[in-house]
């Protein structure tokens, strides 16, 4: 089996989000970016599949920021190849529909028969990548998956439904999977190993052209503050009286 793991950078909300002057996008130069955490789950799931079934694993990311460290880290964790997609217009970020449009050809060239990517990301404004990819490739598809096993010419995917229900689905290859969670937490890549990989291996690059975007953002703004918590001060009597008052007011 040849597995492609598609990763992307997303805004890191540890730092403040900065809007552009026209209020229609994040100011990409002023925000911090990190690997989408669900993509890291997808990578871990793929590594587990590789270990259990001997797959060849290629990690792919578009250069919508500095993706080198993310790709080298994936190699340090055990990926076989890392492919960086480069081209004009990527640095400003791309929508998932555009990313899927780019990836259809790339995945065909890589020769993958399974694509794993994160179930979602914090910047999914136009739908989720796995869904766009499955539609573009015309492959079998499951998303919100929390466990995958290889079974000959197919994959068994544990898919979560609402209300705590799960089902094991058999997907004939080729298939696209949106990974919610790997059975194991993403493994740690020791820095010495990442740095060794940076010295001894290089990233493959491929020039791509992004298709036109599918949505237009009219405005972005931070959520407005509504309400807040009341810290009840005073001695025990005063606190108890205030709590009783609040409960009475709320009719609880």
């Amino acid at each position: 089996m040849r597995i492609a793991v598609v990763m992307k950078l997303v805004p890191d909300v540890v730092e403040e989000l900065v809007l552009s002057e026209d209020g229609k996008r994040l100011e990409r130069g002023d925000i911090a970016l990190k690997a989408n955490e669900f993509d890291e789950q997808a990578l871990e799931q793929a590594l587990l599949l590789k270990e259990s079934s001997g797959a060849e694993l290629t990690v792919i990311a578009a250069e919508t920021g500095d993706v080198d460290e993310m790709l080298y880290t994936a190699l340090a964790k055990g990926a076989d190849r890392a492919l960086k997609l480069v081209g004009d217009g990527l640095q400003d970020g791309i929508w998932n529909a555009q990313y899927a449009g780019i990836l259809v050809d790339v995945i065909a060239d890589v020769g993958a028969d399974a694509v794993l990517t994160g179930v979602q990301a914090n910047d999914d404004l136009d739908g989720q990548l796995a869904t766009w990819l499955a539609a573009g490739l015309g492959w079998s598809f499951a998303t919100v998956v929390s466990g995958v096993e290889a079974a000959g010419e197919s994959l068994i995917a544990k898919k979560e439904f609402a209300g705590g229900l799960t089902a094991n689905l058999r997907l004939p290859l080729p298939a696209v999977l949106g990974i919610q969670a790997s059975p194991e937490p993403p493994r740690y890549a020791p820095i010495s190993r990442v740095r060794q990989i940076m010295k001894t291996q290089s990233l493959e690059e491929r020039e791509v052209t992004a298709p036109a975007g599918s949505i237009t953002v009219l405005s972005l703004r931070p959520p407005e503050k509504t309400g807040g918590a009341e810290m009840i001060e005073g001695d025990v009597q005063a606190k108890a009286a205030r709590i009783a008052e609040v409960l009475a007011q709320q009719g609880i």
């Binding site: 540890v14 403040e16 911090a32 020791p190 820095i191 010495s192 990442v194």
Partner: protein, 427 residues
């Protein structure tokens, strides 16, 4: 395994003119220890840095001073013994409980050096994916954000906004300073760490010291990550800090954190970064006469020696000179003080292993220490390491002693006496 040596049995034997009867002669048989399969011990001592584990001759002196043994079944002697009988240290919880406090090495006649053994074996464990998850989270945070707390790198100097005095950032200052203050992570981000940083900034300002900080350019010094087994991460951080420091001119590098002090004294020089490094207590102690310590701080105070300032680097006096200079303070020593000091539990990665350690010990070291301070009648536990304020304050609460013991950094006590922070801080 070697075939068991066969004893030669004689009624008596004369050696160098001394006649030994048979029961004495038995002592010349190979000791039974040699018939063990010691391959697990040999695998461990083959790890570069871990050789000295094999020197242990089981005298047990370490067990008497090991802080972890007071809350668990633990000491270097026991670690050696378990490894000797075939329990691999690399797979054992024992590997992650040592706080690298150095008390065992102080008494070990064979120089079994846990300060080298622990990081060496832990590094191997990290490479093999065997480290506790919570520790790895701290490593990942440090690698991504330059601090183990996972806080925003761009907010590293935000504490200066509440300092009330000018704290200059080197990248904006573009001029040499006498003192470059390496603030470190907990003093930059932790609420109580920031209180101590504000106090220290005001003291430096009042003394007219020409100082600056690196601000967002500063990364974690990385020494505890090194001791916890992530040497690669330490080297990356050290290279980044050395590169940043090389851009600026300064006479003295002052650190708040004894762990950073240790790194700058012993590890950064190996990577090309040599600085005249002092702990802030060492910078301030000679300046006591200029400090204007006029306000009384009426309290019984005891001092917890940080392992990495005291035992690791021999500084016991500077913090005490400062505390003794504060009017009103009645300084009492705990039984375990100076080179025999207990440990707060935060060193060697312990800061990021709280859940793991809880599962394998009966109490936190910080809780034991807080109880000891209270036994000595202390009202204030004075500290000089940024790990300790948060650890001991939590321990005061978790041992049910809230309101009985206050934990304060020495810089806060000095600032109180200098009238630079309000006396309400004592309340």
């Amino acid at each position: 395994m070697e075939e068991k040596a066969k004893a030669v049995e004689l009624p008596s034997v004369t050696i160098d003119g001394v006649t030994l009867p048979a029961q004495w002669n038995r002592m010349f048989e190979p000791r039974v220890i040699n018939q063990y399969d010691i391959s697990v011990l040999e695998e461990t001592t083959a790890i570069p840095g871990a050789e000295s584990l094999g020197y242990c001759y089981q005298c047990g002196k370490c067990t008497g001073v090991c802080p972890i043994d007071t809350v668990g079944d633990y000491s270097p002697r026991k670690i050696f013994r378990r490894t000797q009988i075939g329990i691999p240290l690399i797979d054992s919880p024992d590997l992650w409980l040592c706080t690298t406090c150095r008390n065992c090495l102080r008494v070990c006649p064979k120089e079994v050096n846990m300060i080298d053994i622990m990081p060496a074996v832990r590094e191997q464990a990290v490479l093999e994916g065997k480290a506790p998850q919570e520790l790895l989270t701290a490593f990942e945070n440090t690698a991504r954000y330059g601090n183990p707390l996972g806080e925003a790198p761009r907010k590293r100097a935000d504490w200066t906004k509440s300092a009330g005095v000018e704290v200059r950032i080197m990248s904006q200052l573009k001029a040499p300073v006498d003192v470059l203050w390496f603030v470190e992570c907990y003093p930059s981000y932790h609420p109580r760490g920031k209180d101590a940083s504000v106090a220290l900034a005001r003291i430096l300002d009042k003394l007219g010291i020409d100082f600056g900080i690196l601000g967002v350019e500063e990364k974690c010094a990385g020494d505890s990550q090194r001791m916890a087994g992530e040497r690669g991460l330490f080297e990356m951080l050290a290279e980044q800090n050395i590169s940043t420091l090389s851009k600026y001119e300064f006479e003295t590098l002052m650190v708040t954190d004894p762990h950073a002090y240790n790194a700058f004294l012993h590890e950064y020089p190996k990577l090309g970064g040599s600085y005249k490094t002092v702990h802030y207590t060492q910078l301030l102690a000679p300046l006591i006469d200029q400090m204007g310590l006029s306000q009384e701080v009426p309290a019984r105070v005891t001092f917890h020696d940080p392992c990495y300032l005291g035992r690791h680097n021999g500084e016991y006096e500077a913090p005490r000179r400062l505390l003794e200079a504060i009017p009103g303070i009645d300084l009492v020593e705990m039984g375990r003080c100076k080179e025999r000091s207990y440990c707060c539990g935060g060193g060697g990665g312990g800061m990021w292993l709280d859940s793991f350690t809880r599962d394998h010990t009966s109490a936190r070291l910080s809780e034991m220490r807080v109880r000891e301070a209270i036994e000595y009648g202390a009202e204030i536990l004075a500290v000089a390491c940024p790990y300790e304020v948060s650890r001991f304050e939590d321990a005061v609460k978790s041992t049910g002693n809230a309101g009985r013991l206050k934990v304060m950094d020495i810089s806060e006590l000095l600032a109180l006496s200098m009238g630079l922070i309000p006396m309400e801080a004592l309340a």
